[in-house]
Assembly symmetry: C2
DNA sequence: TTGTATGCGTTATCAT
DNA sequence: ATGATAACGCATACAA
């Protein structure tokens, strides 16, 4: 018990005793067992995070800052990669909760009833990122993808574009952006000349292949809206390889403000969303709750369209 | 005890009993507590991984496949990001070992004596990646960075280049590649006209800035060797922006075979190392040991130079 | 300031 | 095939 106090609440131990204990700890190479500590105290000081993948900056950036923020407060992050297909999600959540994390980060806010039941029974703080439902499971930090799609439409319409094509991944968030875009374009009477669904996560190569598949249908002056900067970079690369000038002949708009967009030639018009901030805020919400506070249930992070050279 | 058997060794339970137990599990929403299980069995079924960052594909790719491989076998991965400065590494390892992981993945094979003592006392399988020392702490999967540097030198010398510049990050592995390169070039009597140390992890922007800083010193025909494809992509971008043709005027060579190199214009000559394979093999080594086997202590993954358009 | 008793929720082991 | 008992290594609560 005295050893436990030396480690966790050194103030409550006489300095003479504490230094004897520390000497013994050093001599023995003692490493406290947090598994036992977690069982006893019912606090594991561990946070679980479930994201589809870390192979895309869309998730590696928030997870990086999420982990950084939590580890500064003595928490560890258990990372689980769910993929995009949704199969096995319930088993994954079950397995994660079996570790008794003190808190949980989830991607997206739509879950099956079975998963919701698991989450509620777990009775731990949960933060969902990358989405902006009005009714989060617990807490949320994200934004409205449909709104972004509409904003992109408005931007391109204001720039004078009247013909459009879409290269978008099929996951829920990319789909929401696509629908927001298409709805706004339809309301303006503008046609979608071609549309192509890409895999999630989509890479540069998917953008190249996607553009190649539709380019014959795209007259001069078409704006190609892409679901990520990687896709957009691929689309630009392919368009130029096929002799179509960007933006004079084809315009391209991305999403995510990844570093590649700034170095692209021409530089990439895109939507900036602060991924690292999302991860940090998610961590802060969990920490606040674990400290007994009541952080805002719902934080909408700003986005803004970055007009650059490609559209 | 019967519940435990239904969950872990269902074969040893009568089917009638098992189904009653399963019904109760379902009715109660019971989720087993792996913290208690781990304490009792002294197996946490958790593997810890320590890498500098996941913001670079250099590490996110291996970690992705490492995690995938382990989770298929019922293991969870606890991810810790160490940064590159080395400060706090001992505290980090200590904190990680306090969770009693069944195995550990580390980046690199050089550790302080204090850390080595911690690792040995932990008495768990350890696999080090991205390095190729002859004397791994336990197991290792990686390659010899100095050898890669020398191979790049040979390739460029064979292509006829006689003037060189280096844009390399300062971390131990990038440094090893740089030294291997410079040694070989020195042996061939070729000068390094300019050299620039970049931050770790280096991004596209670092490549741009780095090249801009040295470009005045680079005559036509210089080969610029970069410590990653991101740096190389930045260097190409900057060179072209400054009116220097690639590869006719300046040649550029990268490292890592990231996707961006294929889409780059001109396409990027680089060194291909199979990051996902490294992560998978690391996971397989740990799994083999945990299953009582004796996998090879040391696996060297192949690399090869990919001659493309930029050099 | 330090020490003692107890319980956290499992699994290993032995008994039936 | 199932049950009983005793750890596992800490932290909580209380006592001294």
């Amino acid at each position: 018990m005295t050893v436990s106090r030396v480690i966790n609440t050194p103030d409550r131990v006489a300095e003479a005793t504490a230094s004897r204990v520390r000497a013994a700890i050093e001599a023995l190479g003692y490493v406290p067992n947090l598994v036992a500590g977690g069982l006893s105290s019912r606090r594991t000081r561990m946070i679980a995070a479930i994201v589809p993948t870390i192979a895309s900056p869309m998730f590696s950036a928030p997870i990086q800052s999420f982990t950084d923020t939590l580890s500064r407060q003595g928490y560890h992050v258990m990372l689980s990669l769910s993929g995009y297909d949704g199969a096995g999600d319930e088993a994954l959540v079950h397995a994660v909760l079996a570790r008794r994390p003190d808190g949980l980060l989830l991607t997206g806010a739509r879950h099956s009833p079975d998963i919701l039941r698991l989450l509620r029974n777990a009775a731990i703080p949960i933060v969902e990122i990358w989405d902006a439902t009005e009714t989060p499971t617990d807490m949320l930090v994200g934004f409205d993808h449909a709104e972004i799609g509409a904003a992109v439409a408005d931007y391109l319409l204001a720039k004078g574009f009247r013909a459009f094509a879409v290269l978008a991944a099929g996951d829920p968030r990319a789909t929401a952006r696509r629908l927001g875009l298409c709805e706004r374009l339809a309301a303006s009477g503008c046609p979608i000349l071609a549309e192509r669904t890409l895999p999630s996560p989509s890479l540069i190569g998917d953008g190249r292949l996607g553009l190649r598949a539709i380019i014959a249908d795209l007259p001069r002056g078409t704006a190609v809206v892409c679901s990520s900067d990687l896709v957009a970079f691929g689309a630009i690369t392919e368009a130029r390889a096929l002799g179509r000038a960007v933006p004079e002949d084809l315009a391209v708009c991305g999403f995510g403000d990844f570093e590649i967009g700034m170095a692209s030639e021409p530089s990439l018009t895109t939507v900036s969303v602060d991924g690292p901030a999302m991860g940090r805020i998610a961590a802060e919400k969990l920490l606040a709750r674990l400290a007994g506070g009541t952080p805002a249930r719902r934080t909408i992070v700003p986005f803004r369209i970055l007009p650059r050279a490609s559209a």
